[in-house]
């Protein structure tokens, strides 16, 4: 019965989205305020209904209600509770319901809260949101009904892919989806502003928190996804340039560009058309990402729930939404008047370089990701990997870092080089010193070498905007920028150091053997069978000592799951402040030996610390912006109250 309740809630929500679209269009055309007044309530009720539907699906998974096809296919009564919960979105139907629900919640939230823009622009925005939403409701209800019943009810469920039974991964899809969907709000605001010709700083100020929020979640999603791939896949790599990874990276690149251009529009009323364009592109990258992942059209190590037919549906939605938005942009771009002008050497100028470089990297990743599809049309099969992405991306990424170091020192509108000469020379000296030092001591490859030098330069430069300012009175968004830029330096340093200095050992060792890997001495103490709730494993006990210090014990496992039957490697990690020892146990070799693979990965953890810092910087900026908005709102209300009392 309860499954039908969820389905009914979804249908009503879809109908409300239809009503919202219809009332919105009607209201905009006639200026008919009576129809337009339906738009906000429709969005709010829709959000509540979607939340109800998602709650129902969660409940079905908690109870392991096997009469529902989705639960039977993806869950199992013996699974730990946390993975029963994450099973809700660890499959196609559930993840699409999550998408629709988050989108409805975002729509409901702006309908409920947002009062700063002209009402016509708000109606246009919510109409665009309803249009995008309606496509996804159709997709969910017509081709991926999560509440479908199964008859007869099976005795036991089929379980969840063991690779997905992981706490980190339980949180990964919701995080990315919140990011993707947050960009849909930016998209709707862009369309709303275009429709009502209100492309101005107010629009950018209203859109900015949504972009920031989406960007924070995308950053966390990328960071967590990279760490998950690193320890769960057992290959010791943290980025594979896999299509699914690229699918998450592309919206992040677009959102990063949008974040910076929206801040130019909000502060300086420049880059109007460009910001609108990025708003459209950012969401199209989200949809493209969903399409690539869901359709399984590209070979990927991460693709779990794929179905080509459903891919076609998403592709159609993508073409409809993005094509429509681009057409609207083409028609209206001419009417967006020129913004404020600025000199080349100014904060705006630096941000333009940042935007162009990010867009170029986005284009490079996009081409590399889609190239196998293009060549396949001519019957040639290729795969594109690090030899393409690393050097070609670096051509734009490295100069962008130079601008990242210097840009925040510049003033808005116009600046003189003489004014910032001192700090720029200091930053350059730090970078060159590290470059020379690392080159003479270690003699590593070019890209990691440049990476380390730039990481040092950016780290120093990121704190330069604090010079000569009162730290207590510094606005939170500036702190956010400092922390996020510093995070970029930390992550970059981790990437460069790990690439340059990692040391790998691959051996077949007998119990009692000692293996050296870089500064580590690792002894294989024993290999024994162990059992978990839904798996058995061979567990090696290793004692590892760093530079002759106190040995620490780690236990990598080779696990065998039985629902569904599958084997996975559970890598064991030993974390120090300056890196990680990564140990994997393989199969048994002849003569009672065990395959053992060890990596010493200097500073590898800094990659993810950096990612978290970047997201934290975003959070500081978001809090600062929202607090500022609240202050202004209450100030306005007080003024209004005073005027009200003053007037007779």
């Amino acid at each position: 019965m309860i499954a039908e309740l969820g389905l009914a809630a979804l249908w009503i929500a879809a109908a409300l989205a239809g009503l919202q679209l219809f009332a919105g269009i009607w209201g905009l055309r006639e200026g008919g305020s009576r129809m337009a007044s339906l738009v906000r309530p429709a969005a709010i009720v829709q959000a509540l209904l979607c939340a109800l539907a998602f709650g129902v699906l969660l409940l079905l998974f908690i109870r392991t209600d096997l009469s529902v096809a989705l639960v039977a296919k993806n869950s199992h009564s013996a699974k730990p509770m946390i993975f029963k919960l994450s099973g809700t979105w660890g499959n196609h139907e559930g993840s699409m319901l999550l998408w629709v629900s988050v989108m409805a919640l975002a729509g409901g939230l702006i309908a409920f809260l947002e009062r700063r823009l002209p009402e016509r622009t708000m109606i246009a925005t919510l109409t665009a949101q309803a249009f995008v939403g309606l496509g996804f409701y159709g997709f969910l209800l017509l081709s991926s009904n999560p509440f479908e019943r199964l008859s007869p009810t099976p005795a036991e469920g089929m379980g969840l892919n063991p690779l997905l039974q992981d706490v980190g991964l339980a949180m990964h899809p919701p995080t990315l989806y919140v990011g993707y969907v947050g960009l849909s709000v930016a998209f709707s605001f862009a369309v709303g502003a275009l429709l009502t010709r209100q492309v101005n700083p107010d629009f950018a100020k209203v859109m900015r928190p949504w972009v920031l929020g989406a960007w924070i979640f995308l950053t966390l999603g990328l960071t967590a996804g990279s760490y998950w791939a690193y320890y769960e896949l057992g290959w010791g790599g943290w980025w594979f340039w896999d299509p699914v990874e690229n699918a998450a990276l592309m919206p992040w690149l677009a959102a990063t560009a949008l974040l910076h251009s929206a801040s130019v529009l909000a502060s300086r009323d420049a880059l109007r058309a460009w910001t609108i364009m990025l708003g459209v592109i950012a969401f199209s990258m989200s949809m493209l990402g969903t399409f690539l992942v869901r359709s399984g059209i590209l070979t990927s190590v991460h693709a779990f729930a794929v179905d080509p037919e459903r891919g076609t549906f998403i592709l159609a939605l993508l073409v409809l939404n993005v094509g429509g938005a681009l057409l609207l942009f083409a028609l209206r771009a001419g009417t967006i008047s020129e913004g404020q002008r600025f000199s080349v050497l100014s904060r705006e100028g630096a941000l333009v370089v940042n935007n162009v470089a990010l867009s170029a990297i986005l284009g490079i990743v996009l081409l590399g990701t889609l190239y196998p599809l293009l060549t396949e049309a001519f019957d040639v099969k290729v795969s594109v990997g690090p030899p393409y992405f690393n050097p070609v991306g670096a051509i734009f990424f490295l100069p962008m870092l130079v601008v990242l170091a210097i840009g925040p020192l510049l003033r808005w509108r116009r600046d003189r080089f003489e004014r910032i000469q001192g700090p720029v020379v200091a930053i350059a000296v730090v970078g060159l010193a590290v470059l020379a030092g690392v080159f003479f001591i270690a003699g590593i490859a070019l890209l990691p070498l440049l990476g380390m030098a730039l990481a040092a330069a950016v780290a120093v430069a990121s704190f330069m905007p604090l010079r000569g300012r009162s730290l207590r009175r510094l606005p939170l968004p500036v702190w956010g920028m400092v922390v996020a830029h510093f995070g970029v330096a930390v992550a970059l340093f981790g990437m460069a150091a790990d690439t340059a200095f990692q040391q790998e050992r691959l051996v077949a060792a007998q119990v009692g053997d000692t293996v050296e890997d870089g500064p580590w001495r690792v002894t294989l103490n024993s290999v024994e069978p162990v059992a978990g709730p839904n798996w058995t494993a061979l567990e090696a006990t290793l004692s590892a000592s760093y530079k002759g210090g106190e040995p620490r014990v780690v236990r990598p496992q080779a696990r065998s799951f039985w629902t569904p039957p599958q084997e996975t490697s559970e890598a064991a990690l030993l974390t120090r402040w300056n890196g990680q020892l990564y140990a994997v146990i393989g199969g048994e070799a002849e003569g009672g030996r065990w395959q053992l693979r060890l990596w010493w990965k200097p500073f590898v953890t800094w990659i993810w610390y950096g990612g978290v810092l970047i997201a934290f910087g975003g959070l500081l900026a978001l809090i600062g912006r929202l607090a500022g908005d609240l202050r202004r709102r209450s100030a306005k209300e007080q003024i209004a109250v005073r005027r009200g009392t003053a007037a007779p």
Binding site: N161, L163, G234, W235, W274, L298, T299, V301, A303, E338, R341, F342, S343, V344, L345, V352, V356, A357, S359, A360, I361, G363, I364, L367, G368, Y371, P372, V380, K381, V382, S383, V384, G385, P387, Y388, P391, V392, I395, F396, R413, R414, R416, L506, V507, A508, A558, P564, P565, Q566, E567, S569, V584, G586, G587, A589, E590, G591, R593, Q595, R597
Partner: protein, 153 residues
């Protein structure tokens, strides 16, 4: 430069800068893709027209039953990848993927050595019980049936 552009010119200049950078990126990408993409071979293609030794390519096919041997060091394996027409010897040093077994499909990344052996740096086996490397989908019907039968049990 300390002077601002005239409004009209500024928009044009920005547009030109963006276009030049993006077209440059696209050309660069196109050029790099031609050189850096690693091509996919099935054994019969590789036997007929072998790639340059050392060039990064992928080889996909079935691991022949009975061909898998481990060397004395305990970590280097030799096996043969076939597609029913040709057989390519492969050598790989490392821990085999969890689902790498004889008679199943595999995609090996690496390059061919002058002696005709394929030196794999990475093996991509199926990732979960439903995963078939996409390249294998277009293999000969018989092998494909085998792969499908074996991966959907």
């Amino acid at each position: 430069m300390t002077t601002g552009f005239k409004p009209k010119h500024q928009r044009l200049v920005l547009l030109a800068v963006a276009l030049v950078a993006l077209i440059g990126a696209a050309l660069l990408a196109a050029w790099a893709l031609r050189n850096q993409a690693s091509y996919f071979y099935v054994p019969s293609d590789m036997a007929a027209e072998p790639p340059e030794p050392g060039q990064a390519v992928r080889l996909g096919g079935m691991v022949e039953t009975g061909s898998l041997k481990t060397r004395a060091d305990g970590i280097t394996i030799d096996f043969v990848v076939g597609d029913g027409e040709a057989r390519i010897p492969v050598v790989f040093a490392g821990i085999q993927p969890d689902l790498f077994v004889e008679g199943s499909g595999v995609v090996a990344e690496g390059s061919i050595r002058p002696d005709g052996t394929f030196e794999a740096t990475n093996l991509l086996a199926k990732h979960d019980e439903n995963y078939v490397p996409r390249e294998l989908e277009d293999m000969h019907a018989e092998d494909r049936r085998e792969v499908v039968a074996e991966t959907t049990e």
